[in-house]
């Protein structure tokens, strides 16, 4: 059927499983022909535009087992089916993973954030996915489950390309694991450059760091929309982790390094030239912002 916004272009079966177990057996049987529907804010739009189609659509939106945020061991475990809103408003997320909160608040508007889930944001693997960039900066890990068991994958290794991840067709993302800062104070920020507020990113940056007794450590810098997958800016992190005060020399070096570390393209939203230039500016802006928070005695 012709792509159009009114009627979903392809015929599909909408299945409403009542438990995670049921989902896993459906995936075991049909995984390669099934799509997982959480919030639908991305999947349904893609289906309307004719960019994705599946024979079976498994509606996981209401599964209680996939919702909720729990403290388990050293981690905060976020159910993949938790709404973006639920995650963004959680006190623990605000305190300990501030870049994630920032990122979530930049997504669309409140209605989309009630509908969209953090798991959906991850699994759809858009290069522009906002929460993903922050999760990568916070070095999140993703738990995948199938009928035979579970495995945990680092967010830095999870994404293979636009829409492509290491998730196997018979697996579902169940939890996002975030290692909690142990007694250190955390600062983190996310910034998205777009055409209007709540837009899809032209480029996005997440910067996080921790303050320990020896100073500001564990700088993490990640970017979105400037490569086929979210990018960890390792060289920038190396520059920052030398624990010098952030001065003009370092910010210049950061900008130059950023430009070399990314491969943005020209598209309907922006140009490669612009993205290279402004990525460097945005990364160094956020690094300064994080630095100032710590300088200001937040520890």
């Amino acid at each position: 059927m012709l792509a159009n916004s009114r009627v979903l272009a392809a015929d599909f079966d909408l299945i409403n499983p009542r438990s995670l177990e049921e989902v896993l057996s459906l995936l075991a049987a049909h995984g390669d022909r099934a799509a997982l529907l959480f919030g639908g804010t991305d999947l349904l739009v893609q289906m309307k535009m004719g960019r994705r189609s599946s024979e079976k659509v498994i509606n996981c939106r209401w599964l209680e087992e996939l919702k909720g945020i729990q403290e388990i061991g050293e981690n905060l475990e976020i159910g993949a089916g938790s709404s973006l809103n639920q995650v963004g408003e959680d006190e623990r997320v605000r305190r300990e993973f501030p870049a994630l909160e920032d990122a979530i608040l930049s997504i669309a508007g409140p209605a989309i954030r009630h509908m969209g889930t953090i798991g959906g944001n991850v699994v759809n693997a858009s290069p522009a996915a906002d929460a993903v960039v922050a999760l990568v900066a916070h070095r999140a890990r993703f738990r995948l489950q199938n009928q035979t068991g579970t495995r945990v994958v680092d967010s830095t290794e999870f994404f293979l390309g636009p829409g492509k991840t290491v998730r196997r067709p018979d697996e579902i993302l169940t939890h996002i694991l975030l290692a909690r800062p142990q007694g250190m104070s955390v600062s983190g920020h996310f910034r998205k450059v777009g055409r209007v507020a709540g837009d899809i990113a032209k480029l996005s940056v997440a910067v996080t760091a921790e303050k320990s007794l020896v100073g500001v450590v564990n700088w993490h810098v990640a970017m979105g929309s400037v490569a086929p997958t979210p990018v960890v800016l390792c060289e920038v992190e190396a520059l920052l982790n030398h624990n010098r005060p952030l001065d003009g020399d370092i910010t210049s070096a950061i900008r130059a390094t950023v430009a070399q570390s990314i491969t943005p393209i020209d598209d309907v939203r922006s140009t490669a030239w612009y993205r290279k230039r402004v990525s460097g500016v945005t990364v160094s802006d956020l690094c300064e912002q994080v630095w100032k928070e710590f300088e200001g005695g937040k520890a």
Partner: protein, 777 residues
Amino acid sequence: MPEVGRNLPRKDGVAKISGKEPYSHDIHLPNMLYAAVYRSPLAHVRIRYVDTSGAQALGAICLTPQEVPDVIYNERIVSIPTKTYKDRRVLPTVARHVGEAIVGVAAETEELAIRALSSLRIDFEPLPSVLNAEEALKPESPKLYDRIWLGEKPIEMTGNIACERHITEGDPEAGFREADFVVERRYTTPRKYHGQMETKAAVCQPLPNGGINVWATVQSVHNVRQVLGQIYGIPLSKVNVKKLSIGGSFGSSIQMNSIIPICVGLALKSGRPVKLISPREDDMYDHSHYQTEMVLKVGVKQDGTFTAAKMNVIADIGAHHIQADALLGVMAGWLASLYKWKNFQFDGQAVYTNKVPGCALQGFGNPLVNFAVEQHMDIIAEMLGRDPVDLRLQNYIGEGDVFWGQGPSIKSIIESCGVEEILREGSTRIGWNQRREPHEKSGRYRRGIGVARGFHTSGTAGPKPGDVIDFSSATIKVNEDGTVDILTPVIDHGGGTGEAIVKIVADTLHVPYTMVELSDVDARTTGYDVATHATRGVYCGGGAAAHVAEEVRTQILAMAGRILDEEPSGLALDLTAERGTHVYVQSDPNRFVSLKDIAKTAQIKSWGTMAATGSYRQSSAPPCFMGHFVEVEVDTETGEVRVVRAILLSDAGTVVNPDLLAGQLIGAFARGIGFALQEHTQTLPSGTLNHGGWLTDYRMGTSCDVPPPDAMDVYFAHTYESTGPFGAKGVAEAALSSVWSAVANAIYNAVGVRVYDLPITPEVLLEALSAPQLIEA
């Protein structure tokens, strides 16, 4: 206390805030079919054959190019017939842009209709296409048309020039020789999208007598009635078009939208009511705003007086001529009416290309001309070492000067003019004298203040008939309890035209606003009104209502005279708290009779209903003026521009609906910022739109993209236009006229870089800021 000038609840307010106000989308009739439209995937293609068997197998009714009436028309009939170019058919045998409607289908459900679309098999013969005006003007370019019509005259096309206008007044060449300086620049404005919230829609109900009822997104019930009657050969007495609320328009339904006759064709063929709602992606392929390239040359003397102005315009109009000839004429008029050029020349060409057809967008070319002229003013001011506001005050066309209205055939003398008040008040409020020059600014974030002034016409009328039809009608009657019905065909886009007409009638008849209502009407129950366009709703539509109300007033006095046994000339109509609306004897005020009693008596004694119907043409088209003082902040490292403060100043004569007028100014400002800084639609080499017809990539401003309420100031100048109802003019299109010019001028003041092409996106500005000659101390 008069109702004109008070803030009163909208007549449609309760319905709109409770979601009960019906739009075309909401009309539901028994036995209704749902329609969808197959649109061309190619930019230029002959439709050889349409195989509808697959669609018919799904139970769908189809309408193909072979089945529509062989009538060539222009869907906009505002201009007189001899000035109307025609190239449109209900469904074409040659599609001339990606997205042109080729086949209509109607089925029991929307889903079936879309499946039916997908099962059509169409035999295409692709033709070479041309996607930009420069290419289209070359002799070797593919030609869109072999023949078009001007009125009843066929025009054999040798190229792609749809029309051209050349207008000269005085001796511009001599003027340029006399000048001390000549400034010439090239400005461009892109194709963009109206973005009205309600996508175009139509519902058509075929009637047993061969007639039709139509509900649709229209700016003119009468024009749509006439074009449909003409296309389908149905006498107008059997064609009805209903007046209903529309979800915004901004000029995109001055013409009958292409889906309306398709819907009618399907209804007539199936014998059942048909509803056709354009999805957003179809709407974005149906209409856009004209893309232009303007070269402006101005001669000026050292003392700041102008000696000549010359503008060359190439308008890329896309695949159909909707109102391009009128566009060129009005652009000349807008240019002529901004400043005292002394000698003047306008040369414009409208060029066909295989792209989405362009049509009017709020201002109909005025904001485009303004972008060129108002930047030119700042360039000239800087060159002469003059203050930009002073230079404008020295040269503006104002009170007592000749105003060109919408072009050379519509000229009048300006009576009311608030330009000076606007410029002085705006300067004070923004802190114009504290403004610094670009070279005095430093740092990453730089602020700048810019000014621009604009205007628009109030309608297109004048003392004699011209190229454009302009008159309005009204029927007003007094009910048996003293309340009043108004039957007006004038469509309200949402800006409060309806409320204005109610207030004007209320004050003429001295009846409270709460006792006057707008009747549900249609083309059948109203006299002709050309359309709600050209900022004529209040001035012309309200003007006609005031005129007819005067006739009703005469009847009221006559009836009262019978009751009071007095000559009507000795009576007066008034409204007081104790007596309500009443007529009293001027020489003996204690003798009076209430309007309610007059009406009831007239009924009981079988005297008749006090009512009048009439049409009225204004004899003038007075300009409404606008000023924008804008402060922006530019992030010189990202090219992002933020509007931090804005003063919006208008001269609309008497302000009939203060809150709604402020709303129009603010709304236009918000749209203008979007158009200035990021909205544009580009056509790819395939002929498809870069955003694909999805709002995902045609982004319009959100609540966070406009300055916060405290950062915007609205001011109304104190003027009175004696030719307008209670001194009122229009304002609607003036509200947009100077927005992007002010933003561009503010950007220049912030960073010393001038951008001549809209939109001024961060990418464009950052590149301009990075140009080597600018990297200095």
